[in-house]
């Protein structure tokens, strides 16, 4: 193996180097200089994000364990963009007194989860996939418990690690059944050896259930709301966007490449879980008062819409899912950005606290509205295009009834998104959140999100590029 072939793993190598550099920087910092670690990490990561877009060769490493294609590179780049926004959004929070000792830990842990996700996406073998998924999960549990002096945060950490362990167990059981019946764990070989035997279907179901935990698909969503509420907001936004996005990507790749033989089976599974996920996520979101819980349930229902892109097993479906994740990164991080800014400035996280926000903080309210409309799929923002393509992909394979259920669900979701808009624009409050100015990183991150929300939809070239890199029947 020469250096050239080794560079196929460029994304992962760069990330590992970055994590190490942050660690070394931490050693040489005295306490006063610690706050520069954020700046250093963000610049480093920004460079990595840009480097990700440099032309790269596709290829296979380690005898097929690691596969890099145009599609995986695209997925990694999209995740990089999201993580960069999360990093920038975290600066204000990390600068707080109580976090000043842990700045570098935050970055190192997040970068290592990202390394795990990248390996997971590039996996060509179930073992590599499993290692990736574990590497992506365990550091997150530490991060969820980042504010360990708070009971809720510690609780979130332990809940996340326990439910992940359970889901990994289920996943492994499924994989062992698949290994037992096919004798191999290579994706390409499993794909050819997979028959429609009952044992294999059972293995697939366990595998799917394990993944459903990660994506928080109903009925495997129960951990989501508590963990999202307890974790620090920045980690919540990371969990709801990046972790979910990565799991969606790899599940899609595996369904499309490893299990095309049993497409009829997984279409039924997805049909049912998609309906359940959308509906239950939406119905529970209506009742939430805490905005973090609110966004948690909204993100559950978003996963339901994303499943609509899977169901056809078609190229348009894969393109629409990748595109939707990109749009979802901007929209959800935009919404979280506002929640983070307000939480940092006032510590308030409830919907009632947002009453009359427009009169005191018009810009924040507008950004929030834009982000929520994008999540709801209202034109002219990007979410509309994203949802439209997802629905088109499902309709292409004739799932009109499912599409109808999904669009009716978007009406329910519109209801609760409008509740927030109503709080900000229509409700009156005697004690509104006072006018405050956010610092530069917060505003910069919001700027990226707003630009993303507005531009991604109209710029058709983005969708076309994604579509050309997608595959499917």
């Amino acid at each position: 193996m020469s250096l050239g072939t080794f560079l196929i793993m460029r994304h992962e190598l760069l990330l590992i180097a970055a994590a190490l550099l942050v660690l070394i920087a931490e050693i040489f910092c005295n306490p006063d200089q610690r706050k520069y670690i954020s700046l250093f990490s963000i610049i480093l990561f920004g460079a990595i994000t840009i480097a990700g877009f440099l032309p790269s060769t596709a290829g296979v490493l380690f005898g097929g364990m690691y596969v890099s294609t145009g599609t995986t590179l695209l997925m990694k780049n999209i995740l990089n963009i999201g993580v960069l926004i999360v990093f920038i959004q975290s600066v204000t929070w990390l600068n707080k007194e109580e976090n000043s000792q842990k700045i570098s830990e935050y970055f190192i842990l997040l970068i290592s989860t990202l390394v795990g996700m990248n390996f997971m996406i590039s996996a060509g073998h179930f073992l590599m996939f499993y290692i990736g998924i574990e590497l992506a999960t365990i550091p997150i549990a530490a991060l969820a418990a980042f504010e360990r002096y708070k009971n809720k945060s510690a609780e979130a950490g332990i809940k996340l690690i326990l439910s992940s362990a359970l889901s990994s167990g289920i996943l492994l059981y499924g994989l062992s059944l698949i290994y037992g019946t096919t004798g191999t764990l290579y994706f390409s070989e499993v794909a050819t050896l997979f028959r429609n035997s009952n044992l294999q279907i059972l293995g697939f179901i366990f595998f799917f259930a394990g993944m459903a935990f990660k994506i928080s698909i109903v009925p495997f969503h129960l951990w989501t709301a508590d963990v999202y509420e307890g974790s620090p907001v920045n980690i919540t936004s990371y969990l709801s966007v990046i972790s979910k996005g990565a799991a969606v990507f790899i599940l899609m790749i595996i369904l499309f490449t490893v299990f095309p033989v049993i497409i009829a089976t997984w279409q039924k599974t997805i049909y049912v879980t998609a309906i359940l996920t959308m509906t239950i996520g939406n119905l529970f979101a209506i009742r939430q008062q805490n905005l973090k819980r609110f966004l948690a349930f909204s993100s559950i229902s978003q996963a339901g819409y994303i499943l609509l892109g899977f169901i056809g097993g078609n190229q348009l479906g894969m393109a629409s899912v990748i595109y939707y994740i990109l749009v979802y990164i901007f929209s959800n991080l935009g919404a979280f950005g506002v929640v983070i800014a307000i939480s940092n400035a006032t510590g308030k996280e409830n919907m009632d606290d947002y009453n009359g926000l427009y009169l005191t903080n018009p810009k924040l309210s507008l950004i929030m509205m834009l982000a929520l409309f994008s999540l709801a799929g209202i034109p002219p923002v990007a979410g509309f295009f994203g949802k439209f393509f997802l629905f088109t992909a499902a309709a292409q394979k004739g799932f009109y009834l499912l599409v109808l259920i999904a669009v009716l669900n978007t009406i329910i979701s519109l209801y609760y998104y409008l509740l927030v808009v109503k709080a900000m624009f229509i409700n009156k409050s005697e004690t509104p959140i006072e006018k405050f100015n956010s610092d530069f990183p917060t505003r910069f991150a919001m700027g990226i999100c707003v630009a993303g929300i507005v531009v991604t939809g109209f710029a058709s070239v983005i969708f076309e590029v994604i579509r050309n890199l997608s595959f499917g029947a």
Partner: protein, 501 residues
């Protein structure tokens, strides 16, 4: 840049301009300037259109421009107009123009109000110029969503409830529409080949009848919700009653026409076979709309509710006529859209002005206003007379044409429903005349009313613009109906060729 795109660009520029202003007066001036320009553009468009037709250009759509947008799905930004869309665009610019003057005295968050209002107008203009289903749908939703803020923030009464109900019901309609649209798209090339969202291209192929049976009802109901099709009309009274004046004007005057126009241009034009087959169901529903709306108006005491129910009745008549699927009735449907748009906008403007003075909208609390504020009262009478179909005003032309067309059907069913629908004219006369009698004539019941002032200059501009147009259509209807008729001919010819009756 082509002339049609300007209809979207001008409002967007106006919004951008308003965004950077602080002073209320400047905001109003920029809004008036922008929408005045839009009105002039509409006049220019009518002129260009007529001269192009006069010069012998017999294309189905004129000023067609087509830009590829999403290549892989064959989504285009495609625009073009025929006589019908030109008429609708003129209507929209008139009502928006009048609406700006009617909301001259909005004090609270003035800037945001005008931005939302013009954003709504942008959606409507975009809808009428689109000939690509995707852009059409995009503009349709763009027009609906500002309503939530407009009613929720600047409305009155149970505004939050009404705003939410209206938004969710209309979005529910658009949900059905989305599925219908996807169904049309994936069946737009039954013989294989490139799928298309372009209305003109789809109209050249015939969508398989099995698909039509599924997607025609979805599309028709989807648009029907906006056109106040019974039983999906319930958003309309609440929404109109709670909305601020200009929003009621725009909504009843223009936005509800999106429903009729879409039902005609998309549902019936693209899927005529299923339309023919299933029209009886919808004819029954629209007949109920027509009669029930009229009766509903009788029962109301709040002026805005009366007018909202009357809108249900009149817009029901539009869908009713469209479903008759012959040249005369359809012609009437389009004229009715224009006529009702102007007339109802006039009504809502006047109600807003009366409310601003008397601080009540209940008819039994008012009386004898003719003596105190003659200008507004006379205008109200004119609006009322137009609404009940007095010859010489636009309402007569429209309803006459519709009923003549509808009665042409030889089958008994069509004749019976027509007779039922005609009865609405009588009921309309009852509630209009009752309102006029109580409200304007008779003794002045409230001392406070004796010191009311008559219309201010900006109110006069708003009202006169609308009355002028109503009278113009009433006195010279052929000018309008020729413009519509020539554009209708190919459409009707296609429908009739498919199902001769």
């Amino acid at each position: 840049m082509d002339i049609l795109t300007l209809f979207v660009v001008i409002p967007v520029l106006t919004i951008t301009g308003i965004l950077f202003l602080k002073d209320t007066r400047q905001v109003r001036l920029v809004a008036v300037f922008g929408m005045g320009l839009q009105l002039i553009m509409a006049a220019v468009l009518v002129f260009l259109y007529l001269s192009a037709r006069h010069a012998g250009n017999s294309d189905e759509m004129l000023f067609v421009k087509d830009y590829l947008w999403f290549k892989s799905l064959n989504i285009h930004y495609a625009i073009g107009v025929d006589g019908i869309s030109v008429a609708m665009i003129s209507l929209t610019s008139l009502v928006v123009f009048a609406g700006i003057f009617a909301s001259w005295e909005v004090e609270f968050l003035t800037k945001e109000f005008f931005i939302s209002l013009i954003l709504l107008a942008t959606g409507v203009f975009g809808f009428f110029i689109s000939i690509d289903l995707f852009t059409m749908f995009l503009f349709y939703e763009l027009a609906v969503i500002p309503m939530y803020l407009l009613i929720g923030i600047w409305g009155s009464g149970p505004k939050e409830y009404s705003a939410m109900k209206l938004t969710l019901m209309l979005m529910g309609g658009s949900a059905l529409l989305l599925v219908g649209m996807l169904g049309i798209y994936f069946n737009s090339a039954p013989g294989g080949g490139q799928l298309s969202f372009n209305i003109l291209e789809i109209s050249k192929v015939s969508i398989p009848i099995t698909a039509q049976r599924i997607f025609f009802p979805l599309t028709f109901i989807g648009f029907g919700v906006l056109g106040a099709l019974f039983p999906f009309h319930t958003w309309s009274p609440d929404g109109h009653a709670s909305a601020p004046t200009a929003v009621s004007m725009l909504h009843a005057g223009v936005l509800m026409k999106l429903g009729g126009y879409g039902a005609f241009r998309v549902a019936i034009f693209l899927m005529p076979a299923a339309a023919k087959e299933l029209s009886w169901i919808f004819i029954i529903l629209t007949s109920i709309s027509v009669v029930y709306g009229a009766f509903g108006a009788i029962a109301q005491k709040d002026l805005k509710y009366i007018n909202a129910y009357s809108s249900v009745s009149h817009c029901g008549l539009v869908l009713f006529a469209v479903l008759m699927m012959n040249q005369t009735a359809m012609n009437g449907a389009i004229i009715q859209m224009i006529s009702h748009g102007l007339m109802t906008a006039l009504f809502f403007a006047l109600i807003g002005m009366l409310y601003g003075r008397t601080h009540t909208r209940m008819i039994n609390e008012m009386g004898g206003l003719m003596k105190v504020i003659p200008f507004l009262s006379v205008c109200y009478v004119i609006a009322g007379l137009a609404s009940l179909g007095l010859p010489g005003l636009s309402g007569f032309v429209a309803e006459m044409t519709i009923f003549v067309g509808a009665f042409q059907h030889p089958e008994l069913f069509y004749r019976i429903v027509t007779i039922l629908a005609v009865s609405s004219i009588v009921i309309t006369a009852v509630y209009i005349l009752r309102v006029v009698a109580i409200l304007l004539l008779g003794p002045t019941t409230n001392e406070h009313f004796e010191h009311l002032t008559d219309a201010k200059w900006f109110e006069k501009i708003s009202v006169v613009t609308l009355i002028g147009s109503v009278a113009a259509i009433g006195l010279a209807p052929f000018w309008l109906s020729t413009m519509i008729g020539t554009s209708l001919q190919p459409i009707v010819a296609k429908i009739i060729a498919l199902n001769p009756f």
